[in-house]
């Protein structure tokens, strides 16, 4: 149009231009599509890599190296007085029994230093194990028994291949002589990887080989149970009020805006609230699942309220009109007809909220749930820790053995999350109803 004074293009020329530009545009199209695919792949790859790292590191935590020793419950050591006094049995030197058993196995070991090296093969908890055995059943005294005892942390790492035997002796935590003993024991079958019962049933410990997650699991359980008991009724009640009863006015608008904003407030701010109000103002105990549950309730309420409102909205008005038409009151309509129909959606939202609460750790750090707690908590006011916080605590420990324990704890945490989310998905699929 504008180049009227120039020679007009022939149709063939135009076609050539269009074809060239088309090729370029199709290339751009393909490139664009590839970027999209690459982005999705990258996201998936991160996910796969994350899980691979965690599982390859953590699967070993469920196994622990144990040593088979034939222990002679020497009455000279345990009970020299011979009257089976429980206090004497408690206080006896059980380490000596282990030392004797090891010496019997390796008679060539001489001298204090070498003996100490030898006894370091077995975990310090071995003596407690024997003590428990004897106090529970004093009749074993003066008999010989074959027992599997926990090996020490360093032996365990060596057996799992985390310590390279080719390193110079000074750079690895176990010496050359220990390597020799380990090889000999392993060839005899007296040193083997077994299922790690301590990890699954024990409380926290400073020694990686004695550390377990049961305390954290119980703490998380109490906290989630209380959170559920608090947040489900409150969340559902709020949703019902806003959806079914409230007239639209300033007050309900304020509530709505609040709920939406709370959903996006950083979780650590809820921790500050818990610290200042629940602990500082009301004087509730630190580190207790009770306080943790109250904080997590406030944290999960927006999730539950939003999901419950969506579930209530999905119930068609005709149901309400039919109930009202039959003479039911407003409350009866909701309680007898709307609520049962909305319940699956509400439960799905609640489970998702609970899954979020289970993975949350930042607010729990604020209210002091990071304490080192060995005992399994017995109630909601006992000091406790939670699974994600246990992960955090272990990841901070300098011992190499805790890397494996941390990943193991993460596997347990992820397993719980998978179960909860799958339940939510199944619930949604099973009860989803299209009107």
């Amino acid at each position: 149009m504008s180049n009227t004074n120039k020679a007009r293009r022939t149709p063939a020329e135009t076609q050539a231009i269009v074809e060239r530009s088309l090729r370029r545009r199709y290339w751009a199209e393909r490139r664009f599509r590839m970027y999209g695919f690459a982005a999705v792949t990258a996201g998936m790859a991160f996910l796969v890599y994350l899980f691979f790292v965690i599982f390859s590191n953590g699967i070993g935590a469920f196994q622990q190296t144990q040593v088979r020793l034939s222990i002679y419950y020497d009455p000279q050591v345990i009970d020299p007085s011979g009257n089976r006094n429980p206090d004497d049995l408690q206080a006896a030197d059980y380490q000596a029994l282990i030392r004797a058993a090891l010496k019997a196995k390796f008679p060539e070991v001489e001298g204090r230093a070498a003996t100490r090296e030898l006894t370091r093969l077995v975990s310090g908890s071995g003596a407690f194990d024997l003590q428990k055995r004897v106090t529970a059943d004093p009749s074993v005294i003066d008999t010989t028994e074959v027992r599997w005892l926990l090996a020490s942390d360093a032996v365990d790492l060596f057996m799992k291949g985390h310590i390279d035997r080719k390193l110079p002796e000074a750079e690895r935590p176990i010496g050359d002589s220990q390597v020799g003993w380990i090889d000999k024991l392993r060839d005899e079958g007296a040193l083997a990887l077994k299922f790690n019962k301590t990890f699954v049933t024990g409380g926290d410990s400073r020694e990686p080989e004695n550390a377990g997650i049961w305390g954290a699991v119980v703490g998380s359980f109490y906290m989630l149970l209380l959170t559920l008991l608090l947040s489900f009724p409150i969340g559902v009640a709020t949703a019902i009020y806003l959806e079914e009863f409230a007239r639209r006015n300033r007050w309900t608008d304020l509530i709505e805006v609040n709920i939406n904003n709370l959903a996006a407030v950083p979780s650590i701010v809820f921790g500050l609230l818990g610290l200042a109000v629940f602990i500082g103002f009301f004087g509730l105990p630190r580190s207790a699942p009770l306080v943790g549950a109250m904080v997590l309730t406030l944290l999960t309420l927006p999730t539950i309220i939003i999901a419950s409102r969506a579930a209530l909205k999905a119930v068609p008005p005709s149901i309400r009109e039919a109930a009202l038409g039959m003479g039911a009151s407003k409350i009866q309509t909701v309680a007898h007809h709307v609520l049962p129909l909305a319940m699956p959606g509400m439960l799905t939202g609640t489970i998702i909220g609970m899954a979020r609460a289970l993975g949350e750790s930042a607010p729990l750090l604020m209210i002091g749930m990071v304490a080192f707690i060995v005992d399994i908590p017995n109630g909601v006011t006992d000091a406790a820790t939670a699974l994600p916080v246990q992960v955090y605590l272990w990841s901070d420990s300098p011992e190499r053995g805790f890397v494996e324990k941390t990943s193991g704890a993460i596997i347990v945490l992820l397993a719980f999350l998978v179960v909860m989310n799958t339940t939510a998905v199944i619930l949604r699929k099973r009860f989803e109803r299209r009107w």
Partner: protein, 462 residues
């Protein structure tokens, strides 16, 4: 009775009250055949009786438990020996703390002084009396309520209306908890923050460039005067959030475009939830992943090409945080792209545009406000994220824009200042609340802005 036992007993009493009310109403009209002579269903009379049994008693329990401890401690303090009572406030609170620990059974009796032992015995004694009194009071209220209401039940009594009114008030009460939470956050954080600003001026806090919150314990200690200039923290937070967003926005946005516009529905049905798993992984797992794998790997690569990378570099934390945020960006962008009407796309196709041209020039432009809103929400999530940076970022407050160095963030400092034992009135502790206030206000502003943009945009196509 302990409070827990009292609550169980009260629950049982209310169940009993329900049956009393229900059978009373039935008896008045001569059995189930006369139900039509009642104003409400028999269950409503039962519920009304149960509510009269439980609600006043519950209110009394709540008030009593809140006041009990303070009153008992006051009484116990008055009985302490003269020497202990004349201690300074801090020392006195230490003694009281010992007493509480002894009462709770956390410490053996032999580990504390005789005065504390006597005090804790007195505490237990008074607590026993208080519990007894509460039990009696609750029993009187509950039983009295039942007797009174039972006498008032007549066939004309509008029980249903009463019960429903109470239920509605209960529902309303539950819905105000959200408001009280916000008030609680603002009040508690702001209160402590203002105490902090009374010691350190807000100007120094917001614009100072040196952050070292360690206070001198001894007067002659060198170099720990405590300076609270938060600019390095804000800069560190901004740097890490920027790195995170520069990972999350392109990947999230392109994933959303691919899944919404190109992908086969079958691929979409399993790829989308799988990507969202990234958002469901607890942040502590990401933190561990960053500290264990990404940090050392980046350091190794850096050494390989002659760069000095800190093992707690901003890059490692930001990168992993970016991965975590991908699903937030992608699912919000996906929603926004799907909300663009098909007619706009059809128009572009009719003009001869290719798919990518349509997406770039029509769909993304139409969806832009929504996507910007989603990105802002993701930024607020990145700023408030705690565990990843606590585990993978540093503690030293460096004022730098170099992503290979270690920086610290607002959330890391809040955690460092507050984890462990602390007294409530040192500026070090209060500084955490001041940081919390800044964090709350910034994320709140971002959220309000983002929701505003998203809502405004959505109205266009509805």
């Amino acid at each position: 009775m302990t409070p827990a036992a009292l609550l169980v007993a009260l629950t049982l009493l209310s169940v009993g009250a329900f049956w009393i009310g229900k059978s009373r109403s039935l008896a008045l009209v001569g059995g189930s055949r006369g139900v039509r002579n009642l104003h409400s269903l028999p269950g409503h009379y039962g519920l009304m009786t149960a509510l009269w049994c439980a609600l006043p008693a519950l209110a009394v329990i709540a008030v009593w438990l809140m006041a009990q401890d303070a009153i008992i401690v006051r009484l116990v303090t008055d009985q302490l020996p003269e020497t202990v009572r004349n201690l300074s406030e801090n020392d006195l609170s230490l003694v009281l703390n010992d007493m509480r620990n002894l009462v709770a059974g956390n410490v053996p009796a032999t580990s504390v002084s005789a005065a504390v032992q006597a005090a804790s015995a007195e505490y237990i004694h008074l607590r026993g009396i208080s519990r007894m009194a509460l039990t009696v009071l609750v029993a009187v209220l509950a039983v009295g309520g039942v007797i009174m209401i039972r006498a008032r039940i007549t066939p004309q009594l509008r029980a249903r209306n009463g019960v429903e009114r109470v239920t509605e008030w209960l529902l309303l009460g539950c819905s105000t908890i959200a408001v009280f939470t916000t008030i609680g956050i603002v009040a508690s954080v702001a209160f402590e923050a203002f105490r902090f600003f009374a010691i350190i001026s807000p100007i120094d806090f917001l614009f100072g460039t040196s952050w070292s919150p360690q206070m001198a314990i001894r007067a002659d200690q060198v170099g720990s005067s405590g300076s609270f200039g938060a600019v390095p923290l804000f800069a560190g937070t901004a740097l890490i959030s920027f790195i995170a967003m520069s990972i999350a926005v392109p990947i999230g946005l392109f994933s959303a475009i691919y899944l919404a516009e190109y992908a086969h529905p079958n691929f979409r049905t399993w790829a989308k939830p799988l990507l969202e798993v990234l958002a469901g992984v607890p942040t502590v797992v990401y933190g561990f992943f960053a500290a264990l794998t990404i940090g050392p790997a980046l350091r190794g690569w850096g050494e390989g090409i002659g760069l000095n990378v800190a093992s707690e570099s901003a890059l490692a934390a930001g990168f992993v945080m970016g991965i975590m945020i991908i699903p937030f960006v992608s699912s919000l962008a996906d929603d926004m792209i799907s909300a663009v009407p098909q007619s706009l796309r059809d128009g572009a196709y009719a003009l001869g545009a290719t798919r990518s041209e349509t997406i770039k020039q029509v769909v993304l432009r139409a969806a832009l406000p929504g996507i910007v809103g989603g990105v802002l929400l993701a930024v607020s999530r990145a700023i408030g994220e705690t565990m990843i940076v606590v585990m993978a970022a540093g503690l030293a407050a460096n004022l730098t824009a170099n992503p290979l160095e270690a920086v610290t963030t607002v959330t890391v400092q809040i955690v460092t200042l507050l984890v462990g034992d602390q007294e409530f009135d040192s500026p070090k502790t209060l500084a955490a609340f001041a940081l919390g206030l800044v964090l709350f206000l910034v994320t709140l502003a971002l959220n309000v802005l983002a929701l505003h943009i998203v809502r405004k945009y959505r109205e266009q196509y509805e």
